[in-house]
């Protein structure tokens, strides 16, 4: 690939358009790739992520399915048995549960079940997360269910380039990948190198800003929020290292641990409910691996342990810069509103 080609292939795209281009590229490069889901054909998906693909690749490559998530995943399993690489779209996070059994009992386990004889190179795309003022079931963050399920890879992207590159890597992977798309960032724009070659970097976390006081781990929709918080903290003289986790299963604990050994402090933020969420695992593992380095207890800034609330409440439910900064305070040992809560047990 010449420099010119690279240059020519860099375009400014929205995150959703990057995914569209990633799908187009995967469909072009490998005729075993099929894209399937509800309303993805004629309509181009409710977010237009699959816009134009059916017209370009035809109804056997870009498949409008009946309205049944177990059916989508289950037929994808059969297609994988036959050597296909299905890319399934689940229309919204909250609609993945009817397909849960096929995902955890079939997709996740078939490679192990067959002693490695059968591969499940299935990518399951899921627009996830809140902040779009939508109705029930349209704003959930179910990633922890899948990260807890042995046999699945789980990733999420926070910017257009990652959306494009990680999706291509997910589709190319011989293992099943849950690909969570931060739907409220679909319209975020960024430069995308369409010639970027998948390089097995999907499972690596990325340090976005380096810092020395606190390690702030975020992923998907909260990465920009984390960057804002880091900027605000730095005005206050606190140096925050922001890590975009990218892969949620496996987690790049090496990267997080390396950072915490420098900073001695950890904050994890996600939209999902706190109890048993990704934050718990990251806090527990980093405490195991960095106990002697920790200056204060890892903090979690997350959704609450309620169902995702109606739109009128979502500003309260969703972690924002202020709540992260509040945790920054606690992490630095400054007393604030919540400090006392530590000791009420």
């Amino acid at each position: 690939m010449t420099e010119q080609a690279t240059a020519g292939a860099v375009r400014t795209l929205t995150l959703s358009k990057s995914i569209n281009e990633g799908l187009r590229r995967a469909l072009t490069d490998d005729d075993k790739v099929v894209v399937m889901g509800e309303d993805i054909g004629e309509l181009g998906g409710v977010f237009r992520v699959t816009d134009g693909l059916k017209a370009e690749f035809g109804p056997q490559r870009v498949i409008d399915t009946p309205l049944a998530e177990a059916g989508i995943i289950g037929t994808a399993v059969g297609l994988a048995y036959r050597g296909y690489r299905p890319v399934c779209e689940i229309q919204f996070d909250g609609f993945i549960y009817p397909g849960f059994d096929q995902i955890v009992a079939q997709v996740a386990k078939l490679h192990a079940r067959t002693n490695g004889d059968v591969r499940m190179p299935i990518t399951i795309r899921v627009p996830f997360g809140g902040g779009i003022g939508s109705v029930e079931h349209h704003s959930e963050s179910p990633e922890a269910y899948f990260a807890h399920t042995a046999g699945l890879r789980v990733v999420t992207c926070s910017n257009p380039q990652d959306a494009y590159s990680m999706l291509r890597e997910a589709i190319a992977s011989d293992d099943p990948v849950l690909f969570f798309e931060p739907k409220r960032r679909y319209w975020t724009k960024g430069e995308v190198d369409l010639e970027h070659v998948p390089d097995q970097s999907m499972e690596r976390a990325r340090v976005l800003t380096s810092g020395t006081d606190i390690t702030l781990v975020a992923y998907g929709p909260l990465v920009p929020t984390a960057l804002d918080a880091a900027a605000a903290a730095s005005e206050d003289g606190i140096s925050v290292e922001v890590i975009d986790l990218r892969s949620l299963q496996p987690v790049d604990f090496d990267a997080v641990a390396a950072s915490v050994r420098v900073t001695g402090r950890l904050i994890v933020t996600h939209e999902a409910q706190r109890f048993g969420g990704m934050g718990a695992e990251i806090s527990a593992t980093i405490t195991e691996r960095c106990f002697e380095f920790l200056e204060s207890a890892p903090e979690r800034v997350t959704g609450f342990d309620t169902p995702y609330p109606p739109a009128a409440f979502e500003d309260h439910f969703l972690p924002d810069m202020d709540r992260i900064l509040d945790a920054v305070d606690r992490s630095m040992g400054r007393r604030n509103s919540l400090s006392e809560w530590r000791f009420d047990g």
Binding site: E42, A68, V135, T306, A311, A312, D322
Partner: protein, 364 residues
Amino acid sequence: MLLTHSGEYVQLLTPRGERVDAPGFDPWVADIGSAELRSLYEDMLISRRLDTEATALQRQGEIGLWPPLLGQEAAQVGSAHALRQSDFVFGSYRENAVAYCRGVDLTTMISVWRGNANAGWNPYDISMAAPAIIIGAQTLHAVGYAMGCDFDASDDISIAYFGDGATSQGDVNEAMVFAASYAAPVIFFCQNNQYAISEPVGVQATKPIADRAPGFGIPSIRVDGNDVLAVFAATAIAADRARSGNGPTFIEAVTYRMGPHTTSDDPTRYRSDDELAEWRAKDPLDRVERYLTRIGALDDTETARISEHSDTVARELRAAIRALRPPEPLSFFDNVFAEPNRHLARQRSQHEAYLASFDGGELS
């Protein structure tokens, strides 16, 4: 067991407003004289008005989303009128005309679409469950409820409303299995409005949807869903079967969603103007108006009265929306559990303390 045969289709009122014979069905509308039919018409007209109004309110930013039922008034109003108030309704997001017929408070109904609540009304106030957004899930609830009616030796029944798309979901098929197995007094009411968002019904089914149920041991009826009399008759038959211990019935009401899937949808991407025009000619209100006019049951006074009534209801809807206040910020913690829950109480108090730490309560 099919109460109608495959491909058949019951119609009592043609698009031109002619009353045609439908043996077997006619007796079930014998009590519907011109006054009763006018009242059905009135509810359909008001439903349409409410729907148009809500769509407009969404365009004006007063509510976030609205799923129009334009075109499905006969299916919803006709079936709702064939039920008792003590029967229990399990619907999807689109059954707002059914809710209207059951006397829903407009404020509670609209609060959902404003984003203030997930389900506005108290289900026990109008014997109608919270709207189900997970496609098809409510059909199982309806069956369970009906089993309960049976256990109670009550002659209450339940009805599940769902769409053509929903018939593909495992839940809906399991609901039919359970209903047949327990001979549950439930009505499966499928509004086949030809689309599941952008997907035409042919993606879900290669045969008429009414043909599905008999294989489960559930008789089915296929009706012109734009014909309020046919819908009423079919629902009355099904309700009577359920009440008299004969178990479930499946109704396919063949209709058309004349508007977008929701106010976020752009139907021009997946269907033609011609198709829409074809269905507009089968409008569910027009035919009743024509018929009533022809038999002299809809004179100018009546038309004026109904029009005024619908203006009133539309005003009420607007007033309801204006009356909506932002809910108490932390109330989303309150009804997660019915019993006191220490874990959540702690989180709530923490967030309260956090909010209090802002000068002037910046976030609340």
